[in-house]
Symmetry: C2
Subunit: 216 residues, 2 copies
Amino acid sequence: MRLYSYFRSSASYRVRIALALKGIGFEYAAVHLVRNEQMSEAFGALAPSQLVPALVVGAGEDELVLTQSLAIIEYLEETQPEPPLLPKDAIGRARVRALALDVACEIHPIDNLRVLRFLVREMGVSEDDKNRWYRHWVESGLEVLERQLAGNASTGRFCHGDAPGLADCVLVPQIFNAQRMDCRLDHVPTVMRIFGNCMAEPAFSTTQPSACPDAT
Amino acid sequence: MRLYSYFRSSASYRVRIALALKGIGFEYAAVHLVRNEQMSEAFGALAPSQLVPALVVGAGEDELVLTQSLAIIEYLEETQPEPPLLPKDAIGRARVRALALDVACEIHPIDNLRVLRFLVREMGVSEDDKNRWYRHWVESGLEVLERQLAGNASTGRFCHGDAPGLADCVLVPQIFNAQRMDCRLDHVPTVMRIFGNCMAEPAFSTTQPSACPDAT
């Protein structure tokens, strides 16, 4: 497998964690987002969405490119089920997927690099207001997550029970972004407790942005 | 089952289509987003994320609330597999999920009502610029989808093959939004061909916004 990734891309980090949790080795192919390498023709031919991560599976004529981090992780779960990243019961699976989507749909897309660029360059928003925008969606979005986690008996050492899973793969990269942008985090103690438990696991720490081959 | 929905919420419409495709009857509970009914204490107690859709499953003490449209549809797929909304093969499933996420993560969240409100009220963006923002993400996002659909042999009458599935459940509501906001659509002929095929199916037409009990 070959993973097209950027060290600071949180969607890429989600997949790096999932691969590590499942013990799947892969080749790291760096795509520098700030230098717009994802917009190159070569990368576009591979991934028409021109977004990282992209995971190349198979070989030769059977080589195929998978995109969208959550779809990639579901694929890994289906093809290499152990250790599981989703619970066995349908209700538990729905809960974990919803927690993951609470980050992947409600926080992350609004603070994506291309969205922030458009906000400044096309909407004429100041740097200060851009940062306020960023923090607003992270802080309010994590507060929603805190309420879902703190008030639910299924929450354990991790988002769901005592083993890391899909929701943790999505939560941890969002906290890295939050810390880098100086977001408030003291209002989400359950989220931060789980984050701490995750970072004690090699699958999360060895794949973090600063540990990537393209980290600067 | 009871579905908390708003007629114009495209995430709610996704679930309405999936329920209809699977022939699952449900009680319709209207939550008026423009009147901020989703922010009420009563709704917050039910769905801490204060977002529609929310699907109540089970009864009495076993009653549970599921949130996030894609997690809800995966739950329906797991508990009532026929007719399937995902292909049988892992690669096909990854493709369909990625297409759904190309809309659900890359287009829809950026043009959500609460994001547009924040853009105008907090960022001081004009109505004209807000509309330009809206169209930019829809038109560029659908172009990405067009490239993925037009260039792939798995695309059929619908996004994947000749039966409607998860990706169609997500695509169609986005086109409704695009049309309501006068977005350009002549650059995405494959998308629009699939949209036409979907709207010829009762599961898509009978659940459309104007057919909802709370439509105005």
